[in-house]
């Protein structure tokens, strides 16, 4: 199947637009101007991404090479269905998160807001860069920029806890990428002479089974942002960050960049053929399944809401890996689709957690008794978000999980079906106490008096938007579903 390519500088612009806003953000004299810059950049970025959507849906790809750095390898960009899906998710959620950030940061009077917005812009640039990378080198470049740009965000509070979390964050993320992913990339380059993402991988015929397995594992654990156990413990630690950061970065950008990178490498570099031939995909599935189950079990025991969400994220990320590693058509569609669906669900949950903190200063689930009566909008949105994550209709999460379930059946590995069902049950189990505490606790247990009200409008509007989007995606999943099936067609060659 020949893929028609279009030469356009748009992907580069989409990456750069938020970087270009940084001087504006830094030099702004007031909060309003600074935020105007942020929104302008976010809007232009979304427009740029959306303007490329029709071309991609036509089955074409957009290519642009910025500069050639090694023989046959350059800093180059390519927009295809998979990247488009991810970029669409990231750039649309950036706008919502910017809204939310404004509300959150203002209502808590956070310090160093300029730095916050500047690094936020860098992070989102890097995320789009990852989505639009044409080869592993470019992907790695933006991956590292993202790691570094999120460090000041994670450690925003600049206190002791932030410091130790920041250390842990960098240790896992940089240690993984420099210690494992980078050598794996170089070995790949050495054996194959290219780093471009090809539809069927580039490793076929260049490696034996042992090396392929080694490289797969190095990539899987090296891209530690995906949080496969045991490389997961940075994620709960990073929850010290302000909630909007957790929301966008740790439910959408950072962790999804990890998942996206692994998917890209598995399909574009290692290749489905190699994975299937040497039965590496079985091993990956097994690792992902363990992570799913264990993370869900740990989530049950967490009392801090954001930590519980973090462990939930770790489990959900492995769905993506599991789905793709199943190598069946539906499984892969489900896995890729889950990038989008989970993002909308999980970001709602984080927004809610932040809204609760904004309004009441509470972080622990056990202290949220009766909060649903005081903050009905927030907690309804929370309900929708968690239903989406659990995979319950009528929420977007159901669609991806449905495909995943189909995928396990298609591939004939029913054990993973059991894993999926078990984990859905566990998901329900760790979200249930939150609603129970919020809505159904008996009157004498209610901890809140009447004066507690909803969070400021800036905080509530975004979470309403994302919650409604989650529902909307159940009825109208076409843009993402089409992109996902297009991506799968390219990968599977159907």
């Amino acid at each position: 199947m020949s893929i028609e390519t279009v030469l356009s500088i748009k992907p580069v612009l989409a990456v750069l637009v938020s970087l270009l806003a940084i001087p504006g953000i830094i030099s702004s004299r007031s909060q309003n101007i600074r935020e105007a810059w942020t929104f302008a950049a976010a809007g232009i970025k979304l427009l740029l991404v959306v303007s490329m959507l029709p071309i991609i849906l036509d089955g074409k790809t957009i290519n642009y090479t910025l500069v050639q750095v090694f023989p046959d390898v350059g800093i180059s960009f390519r927009v295809d269905a998979l990247g488009m899906l991810f970029a669409l998710v990231a750039s649309s959620l950036w706008i919502v998160t910017s809204l939310y950030s404004v509300g959150y940061m203002r209502s808590l009077d956070e310090h160093s807001q300029t730095r916050y917005f500047a690094f936020f812009a860098v992070a989102i640039s890097a995320t789009i860069g990852v989505a639009f990378s044409a080869n592993l080198l470019t992907l790695y470049l933006f991956y590292e920029i993202l790691s570094l740009a999120t460090y000041p965000l994670v450690t925003h509070h600049q206190d002791k806890e932030a410091r130790s979390s920041g250390r842990k964050y960098l240790l896992y993320i940089l240690g993984g990428s420099v210690g494992l992913a980078l050598p794996a990339m170089m070995i790949t380059y050495h054996f194959t002479g290219t780093l471009d993402f090809a539809p069927h991988g580039v490793m076929a015929g260049h490696v034996n089974s042992g090396l392929a397995l080694l490289l797969s594992m190095m990539f899987l654990f090296g891209f530690a942002k995906v949080g496969i156990m045991p490389m997961h413990s940075w994620l709960p630690a990073a929850m010290v960050a302000p909630t909007p950061v957790s929301a966008l970065l740790h439910a959408v950008a950072v962790v999804k960049v990890g998942a996206f990178s692994v998917v890209r490498v598995m399909t574009g570099i290692i290749g489905t053929g190699v994975l299937a031939d040497f039965n590496i995909n079985g091993i990956i599935c097994a690792i992902a399944s363990i992570t799913i189950v264990v993370a869900s079990l740990i989530a049950l025991s967490q009392d801090e809401l954001k930590r519980r969400l973090a462990f939930s994220t770790i489990g959900q990320l492995s769905y993506i890996i599991l789905g793709v590693a199943l190598l069946s058509k539906s499984g892969m569609t489900g896995g890729i689709l889950h990038i989008a669906m989970h993002a909308f669900g999980k970001i709602t949950l984080f927004f809610c957690a932040g809204a609760i903190f904004c309004a009441t200063g509470i972080k622990y689930i056990s202290k949220m008794k009766g909060i649903g009566r005081r903050m009905p909008i927030t907690m309804t949105a929370f309900l929708i978000g968690s239903l989406s994550v659990i995979g319950f209709p009528p929420c977007g999460g159901f669609i991806s999980k449905w495909h995943l379930v189909l995928g396990t059946i298609e591939s004939g590995r029913l054990i993973f079906l059991v894993v999926l069902l078990l984990s859905s049950f566990l998901n329900a189990a760790y979200f249930f106490p939150v609603f129970y505490n919020a809505f159904f606790c008996s009157a004498d247990e209610v901890l809140f008096e009447d004066r507690v009200e909803e969070a400021p409008l800036w905080c509530v509007v975004p979470l309403v938007i994302t919650a409604s989007l989650s529902i909307l995606l159940f009825f109208y999943p076409q843009p993402f579903l089409n992109l996902a099936s297009l991506a799968v067609q390219t990968i599977m060659g159907i």
Binding site: P71, I75, H190
Partner: protein, 520 residues
């Protein structure tokens, strides 16, 4: 009359001009220094700038013609007289030297004014002589001429770093002892080459080499030359002189000498191995790779671990320099094209990175007056632009794309993989991780700890009235370095990224031609 076609004759004399221009300027600066204390600085600055321009022209000339320029000193042809040979490799290193000397000179004006106030003439002269010495070392095609120029660079270097802190003279004296041993060993090696071949011209010797491959004189000449150069480039365990000498010196001297001396010595080693002893002898006949790569591994690991133990910022940098020497020596002795390209590319990149880090050190010194890492508290809030530049330089040392450090490391690592030297690869990765720890330790201090006389930024959410204007007060407390320091520094930091992005072009268009085709 040749007077009138001055243009073409000027271009054809560039190899001599590029070296003698700083020499003349140093004479004039030394002369005028007795009359007027302020005169030498602008003269030196202009001379360095003109030298830089000539080196750019030279580079363009070499790249456009694609052949090495041979310049006959005093009009005598190769083996009889001394010739300068400007090929891609030397043109690249000459460009590096002139640009670093110029940028460092411009950026450190205030440092020069304070430290060398009474001796402006002598200082500027020596600065120029040091530059001339390095340029000559790079350009020359004569093994003995190299020694003379090496000594000029060394002697002026001793003088420049001898005038630093109270302990500087002692560490400089130790540097002088080891430097002299190194140079004398090199001289002895040249003597052995001379009795084996009867020639001093590198190309001439190379043409004789195939006939005398198994001569023990040549073997010993090789060993002695290498030992001499290894001492001069401070490879482990011959590194003892470097940390003290560099960290005790004045900023302007450290900023010139630290980026250049070891790098140019490595260039000399590459030049000697490739042009004089021929790759056939160095890599095939002697098979030095294993030994030297292990030496390099030792250096990398030792340098990284020692850097980890340092509290003082500049001392930490000196150990990083030692580790980087290991990168380049190891990369070169991998003996394959990728590794050698990586080593040469890393000469350029590492010089630029080291320059940036020492310029940052100069700015920190200017700001705090101290050298310990603790003095960097709160710097991110205080000097955001400086710290941004510093971050880029640090990331480059760590090897994070798209900074240049990543790309040369990439070549080195792929060279290591291609040569099957997996321990070298492991050492490089280890050192990257250690560098990451080193610099993030500094980032943490600069990010988390409040600035000493300013406790505003500890997160005090309590007094909300004040916090509303927190942003604005924050803006006001920013106090950057003077523009004279900041602009060159920012330029170098940006250059680090540009070098990284264009490393493919540098390798394809320059370094590829610099490596003999016999190296695969």
């Amino acid at each position: 009359m040749t007077f009138f076609d001055g243009d073409s004759s000027l271009i054809s004399n560039l190899p001599a001009i590029v070296v003698t221009l700083p020499l003349f300027a140093s004479l004039i600066a030394g002369f005028l220094g007795w009359k007027n204390r302020k005169a030498p600085y602008p003269i030196a600055a202009v001379a360095l700038f003109l030298t830089f321009i000539s080196s750019v022209v030279l580079m363009i000339q070499v790249m456009s013609t694609g052949v090495a320029i041979e310049y006959r000193m005093a009009g005598w042809a190769a083996p009889v007289g001394i010739v300068y040979v400007i090929d891609h490799l030397s043109a690249l290193v000459i460009l590096l030297i002139t640009s670093i000397a110029f940028v460092n000179f411009i950026a450190n004006k205030s440092n020069i004014d304070t430290v060398f106030r009474n001796k402006a003439g002598a200082f500027n002269s020596l600065y120029l002589l040091f530059t001339a010495g390095l340029l000559g070392m790079t350009a020359t095609g004569d093994a003995f001429n190299l020694y003379v120029l090496m000594e000029i660079a060394s002697l002026s270097g001793y003088a420049l770093i001898g005038l630093g802190s109270n302990r500087a003279p002692l560490s400089t004296l130790n540097y002088l002892f080891l430097g002299t041993i190194g140079a004398t060993f090199y001289l002895l090696g040249v003597g052995y080459i001379y009795i084996a071949t009867g020639s001093l011209n590198m190309a001439d010797i190379a043409s004789i080499m195939p006939k005398i491959l198994d001569s023990s004189m040549i073997l010993f000449a090789f060993i002695i030359c290498m030992v001499g150069l290894l001492i001069k480039m401070a490879i482990f365990p011959l590194h003892g002189w470097l940390p003290n000498a560099y960290s005790e010196s004045a900023n302007v001297a450290a900023g010139l000498i630290a980026p250049l001396t070891t790098k140019v010595t490595i260039y000399i080693m590459i030049r000697i191995c490739l042009t004089l002893f021929t790759p056939q002898y160095t890599f095939d006949y002697l098979n030095t790779s294993d030994l030297m790569v292990w030496l390099a591994i030792g250096t990398i690991i030792f340098g990284s671990l020692s850097a980890l133990a340092q509290k003082d910022y500049k001392r930490m940098l000196t150990y990083i320099i030692i580790a980087e020497v290991g990168y380049m020596v190891g990369g070169f002795f991998l003996g394959n094209r990728i590794g050698v390209s990586g080593a040469i590319l890393h000469i350029v990149n590492d010089a630029a990175m080291t320059l940036a880090l020492f310029m940052a050190a100069g700015i920190f010194m200017w700001k705090t007056g101290e050298e310990s890492q603790e003095s960097l508290k709160g710097m991110f809030a205080k000097m955001p632009f400086t710290m941004a530049g510093f971050t880029v330089a640090a990331l480059s040392v760590v090897g994070v794309p798209p900074t240049c450090g990543f790309f040369s490391k990439w070549y080195l690592i792929s060279g290591g993989i291609a040569a099957g030297q997996y321990f070298f690869v492991a050492a490089l990765i280890f050192s990257s991780l250690v560098n990451a720890i080193l610099f993030f330790r500094i980032f943490e201090i600069a990010h988390f700890e409040p600035f000493k006389d300013h406790h505003h930024h500890s997160s005090n959410h309590s007094n909300k009235g004040e916090e509303a204007s927190a942003h604005d007060t924050h803006e006001q407390t920013i106090k950057e370095a003077p523009l004279g320091m900041l602009i060159p520094f920012m330029a170098v930091s940006i250059l680090l990224v540009v070098l990284g992005l264009y490393s493919g072009q540098i390798v394809n268009n320059i370094i590829n031609f610099a490596i003999p085709s016999s190296i695969l």
